[in-house]
Amino acid sequence: MIAASIEGPSGLSFAYYADFLSRVLLVRSFWNSLGMAAISTASATIVGFLFAYATTRADVPGKKFFRGIVILQLISLPFTVGLSFVMLFGRRGLITYGLLGRPFEIYGWHGLWAVQTLTFFPLAYLVIVGVLKSIDPALEYAARNLGAGDAHTFRDVVLPLSTPGVASAALLVAMNVLGDFGNPLLIAGDFAVIATEAYMQIVGWGNFKMAAVLCNFLFLPVFILFVAQKYWVSRKLYVTVTGAPTQLEVRKPHKLVKWSLFLFCLSTSSIIVLIYASIGLGAFAKTWGVDYSFTTEHLEYVTFQGIPAIKNALIFSLTSGFACALLGVLDAYVIFRKNMPGRQVLDFVSTLPAAVPGFILGIGYILSFNTPPLVLTATAYIIILNNIARDMPTGFQAGMAGIQQIDKSIEEASVNLGAGTFQTLKNVVVPLLKSAFGAGFIYTFIKCMTTVSAVIFLITPEWNLPSPIILGLAGHGYWGQSAALSAVLLTMVVGTLFACKTIGGRRMPLFEM
């Protein structure tokens, strides 16, 4: 793609870069993207931290509910919040127009900020929960034993120890905000960001070259964040220094702190409940914003028009899920267990796609597979390949998590008893990695079902997918159909997760549930 961006009509040329820099709007979109990433990252990380602290340390009531809310957000369509925010707070929004009866402008940077915060705080939450759980409660007891009160213990022990984790979470959120595409499209209004501008360049002008230039400008900061997260912050994580962890229970904070956190989580969760309620409501309301009478016509639309797309999504997600889980487990096994030369490189390559924003990958795929030797554009293969490339890290992470839990001595025991490498793999490693494979499959499946940015440039009328359809419908103001299709898709995804959770049980902890 970098090559495509500098390829002029007659050989090498930086003309497109010059063109980019000369267009004020496009340059502004770059700074807008960075600015939005900065403020959204700050707010999403703070919300994520408060949620994590409340559920792991403060013993607030309703922990399961809050965790459920976070997981729902994680597996949901990436632009759910944007969609429902327009429906709730837009010009004809249920709350702003319908209930309060006063005009309110949700479109713009402030709307996008709120949406990005609610969309990405669960990512921060997941990372920070892991870090908070790894802090030995004995350290807090030690501080108190030496005379530190609640506030000092938090400031001197808990906060500094979780800082690297919080930084890691923030970088992850920043990468995702920079690469997010659906939410800005729906709610940013005149506030141009790189992702939407690149989309406009392609859809509006057919200017793939300029889109590639834009992508490269965005890719640079994302790449820096990725490298920083992987090689700098993760090194600074403190591991428990010695031996056996104490079985001390986490000390509960002051009642006032606990209930403030509870109120905060409750109000945030209420907004999210409201978001999904509006999607559900929208699916059955005749004309959102005008006529809220009950109808099933949107669902009927979904049944007739949406089913082929959903079928496609199922096919793609099942194949990609299977491939990613298998490759991920194998990849993790090789990297973790076999001292192979170049494993560092393999590790980097296995996790990099997670950092590449979906739409950049999508545009890259068009540019790569548009011309011989391999012409895949407008086929199903390009979508599946794209999914696999994008979700490899998900499978890899699941594989890694599984491998790390298998003590090396178990394999050694097998070899010691006379089994060869292949037999050890077959009789010991594979059975033990089944749950890692299952987890990788489910994570990838869910991501593929709801992905939008990576595939929006790759779909064709023949190989259409539900999430781009939803985005398109919303873009044209068909709120009912859009909400109905979202509701169906969400029900499927949540249903899948529940089913797997029930079948897999305790052996397969999904989202640390």
Binding site: Y141, A143, R144, L146, A148, H152, V239, V241, P245, L248
Partner: protein, 358 residues
Amino acid sequence: MKEAVYLKDVTKRFGQVTAADHVTFAVDDGSFTVLLGPSGCGKTTALRTIAGFYEPDEGEIYIKGKLVTNVPPHKRNTGMVFQNYALFPHMKVFDNIAYGLRFRESLKTDAEQRVRKVAKMLGIEPLLDRFPAQLSGGEQQRVAVARALVIEPEVLLLDEPLSNLDAKVRVRVRVELKKLQRELGITAIHVTHDQDEALAIGDTIVVMNKGRVVQIGTPTEIYFKPKTRFVADFIGTANFLKATVAKATKEEILLSVGPGTVLSASGSQDTSVREGQEVTLSVRPENVEVSKEKPAQGPNILEGEIRDTIFMGSTTRYFLRAANLDLIADVQGSDVPLEGNIYVGMDRSKLHIVPEPT
């Protein structure tokens, strides 16, 4: 001596489990007291209630005569050394040790000298600039002790601080710890499940089992005069013989341990026993004498044979069968192990009666 710490009827429950069940004991000022028992016996719970990490469901805790049951941990001035040391990984050794001084107005001034002084005492002065992750287990343990001592605590609480050290270091460090405690004259309460450690360093041992205190005494009392079978069994190795009291006088107690076999124990036992009572006779292996020739005189001489032998370095352990009794005997420095038929002798004063049927 005054009491530095006094637990009165302390009970702590976790859900259905009673971790500490009416625990009562007093710790003399300046003494080294060991809480000893198997895992889950309540010793750590007792220690943590003293530190204030757990609030007892019932009972009272006094430190230096002051009721502290409801005082939060950071106001108690107890210095604790944790099992895994709980050093702050993000602070250098110096800052770890100095941390507690921040909260003590009287010690804040010349904090640096205080840190250096205690570091010198423990031989960790060269390490002050390092992070905990750069230290060995033994060094970390010293830092943890320094951090607890520098705040001049009213009592030093040690929660199995030696269990993460390897065997040789452990033995060396426990001697140092005891020496340090004696030099400073500080009161220490030490939790362990290691009976050798308890016997080696304790002035007083509080033996606990299933949440209750079963015996309090000096190491020799605990070892030679266990009050219950549990104590005798938990501490060291003991021969337990099922016995019935045949005759009890002030001078002598005769015990029937099998058809036609009567052993004689000295009458000055703490416990009063009645004739006909079923008791357990406890004899330490080192008090079972083994010889090839029949001893000229003395009570409790039995004929028997050696069934098995284990060489244990300074001693040799014999598994014997004598007069229908299975006995274990430890014999000092026998370079040529005994074999076959032998005679067994047991000193009357070393036969200890536990007033519990086997």
